[in-house]
């Protein structure tokens, strides 16, 4: 009983503490300007991308898979396939005016998996929609632009002093739920990320390290 009360108190404390990082306004120059460099991590046009994915999962499980993504930045749609290293398709789904699952084998058939995957794909590959609601500096001096998500949550685009670009997603209760990190030295000449790290926090905890194997430009 005492343990349950402690856990409840911890959850309430967590909830009460959840809030977005403060943004210090910057006067003078365009505060969003420096973030434009981070926009290059998002593919422009239509692409076929193949990644190897190292997944660190709960309870110490580790798995390596392949991820295929065909996307259009203009239409903001994508089709995403998860394969075993042997090429066996375990999940195939797309977002195009709605979510459609073409194939989902265990354990990729659980409720909510497809939607969650597509949210992660969106955070990794698509620039946040609309204009930034707020831009400025974080307390550590990093440049930040904040976007409001249609779901009521937020996405912070952050440029660290090291050159690392981050997309930090918060839910509608302002709790951090995803961090996408692209180090400065992990980009190809045209800005395409060679390595992307995604860390999931909150109810789901996992980490994905995606390494680009192939990027094929497609006809628009």
């Amino acid at each position: 009983m005492k343990g349950r009360l402690f856990a409840l108190a911890a959850v309430l404390l967590f909830l009460s503490c959840a809030r977005l990082p403060a943004i210090v306004p910057v006067t003078g120059a365009d505060p969003c300007g420096p973030i434009e460099g981070c926009s290059r991590i998002f593919p422009t046009g239509k692409w076929q991308l193949l990644h190897s994915i190292e997944a660190d999962l709960p309870r110490g499980r580790r798995s390596v898979m392949m991820g295929l993504t065909v996307l259009s930045s203009r239409l903001r749609n994508n089709r995403s396939v998860i394969m075993s290293l042997e090429g066996f398709v375990m999940f195939d789904g797309e977002i195009n005016q709605g979510l459609k699952v073409h194939r989902a084998l265990p354990p990729f058939d659980s409720p909510g998996f497809a939607g969650g995957l597509m949210e992660d794909i969106r955070l990794i590959f698509f620039k946040p929609e609309g204009a930034a609601a707020e831009c400025g500096k974080l307390t550590d001096g990093s440049t930040v632009c904040r976007y409001k998500n249609p779901d009521g949550g937020f996405v912070d685009m952050v440029l660290r002093s090291t050159g690392t670009c981050e997309s930090r997603r918060y839910d509608r209760e302002q709790r951090p739920i995803r961090i996408v990190r692209v180090p400065a030295d992990a980009r190809t000449g045209d800005g395409m990320p060679q390595t992307v790290e995604l860390t999931a926090q909150g109810e789901q905890t996992y980490k994905l390290v995606m390494t680009l194997l192939e990027a094929v430009p497609l006809d628009p």
């Binding site: 580790r62 089709r79 396939v81 042997e86 066996f88 192939e214």
Partner: protein
């Protein structure tokens, strides 16, 4: 997650390996079984193409395969992601290239590899038509068509075509159809039959 559930991708590997290992041709199941008994070792390079309707061009992987009778196997992808399956002395290990080098896979994935071993043992005996997972049909060509027996499994693999070489003991290609829009084709090259293979290849990754 049950072992059965996680076994499916590995069973695909088993089918690939076992299909390649079903060596020695004839016009009947009995002739296939007889010829299979003459194979003591095999090695070959392979190129794998993944075809899907949505792909502008297929995804290409390549690697090498070694087999030593009765049950030693090394199935190694060298590109684009290095990935090695070793089976020897009833031990099964799998290593995958990660950011920290070749990493040994543990847990459920490794258990699934036991399924691979069981499959291969059966196929090595040339018992194509006795496989509990697939119904085998011998076609002109010669070609063998494998169709899943269980409906649940057929949702994952529609059927498999094995195209046999004119050279006894060699298979030209394996095509695994997952659906109408998705299939995987393996083409084998530089096959060598019944030559000595260093046993260390089945025990160590390098």
């Amino acid at each position: 997650m049950t072992n059965a559930k996680i076994a499916y991708p590995s069973q695909t590997v088993a089918v690939l390996a076992a299909a390649w290992l079903l060596i020695g041709w004839g016009s009947s199941w009995q002739e296939l079984k007889s010829a299979a008994g003459s194979v003591t070792s095999l090695s070959a390079d392979f190129v794998q193409e993944k075809h899907m309707k949505i792909l502008a061009r297929p995804l290409v992987s390549s690697g090498v395969l070694y087999f030593q009778s009765p049950a030693s196997l090394r199935w190694e992808y060298r590109a684009p992601v290095r990935n090695i399956l070793l089976m020897h002395d009833n031990r099964t290990e799998r290593y995958v290239e990660t950011g920290s080098g070749l990493t040994k896979e543990t847990g459920a994935g490794l258990q699934a590899m036991q399924v691979v071993l069981e499959q291969i043992s059966q196929w090595l005996g040339g018992r194509f038509d006795e496989n509990p997972m697939f119904a085998a049909h011998l076609k002109p060509g010669p070609k063998i068509v494998l169709v899943p027996k269980e409906k649940a499994f057929s949702r994952m693999i529609h059927h498999i075509d094995l195209v046999l070489s004119e050279r006894p003991g060699i298979i030209d290609s394996v095509v695994i159809y997952e659906s109408e829009d998705s299939f995987t084709k393996l083409v084998f090259k530089n096959a060598v039959l019944n030559q000595p293979i260093d046993a260390a290849l089945f025990r160590k990754i390098s």
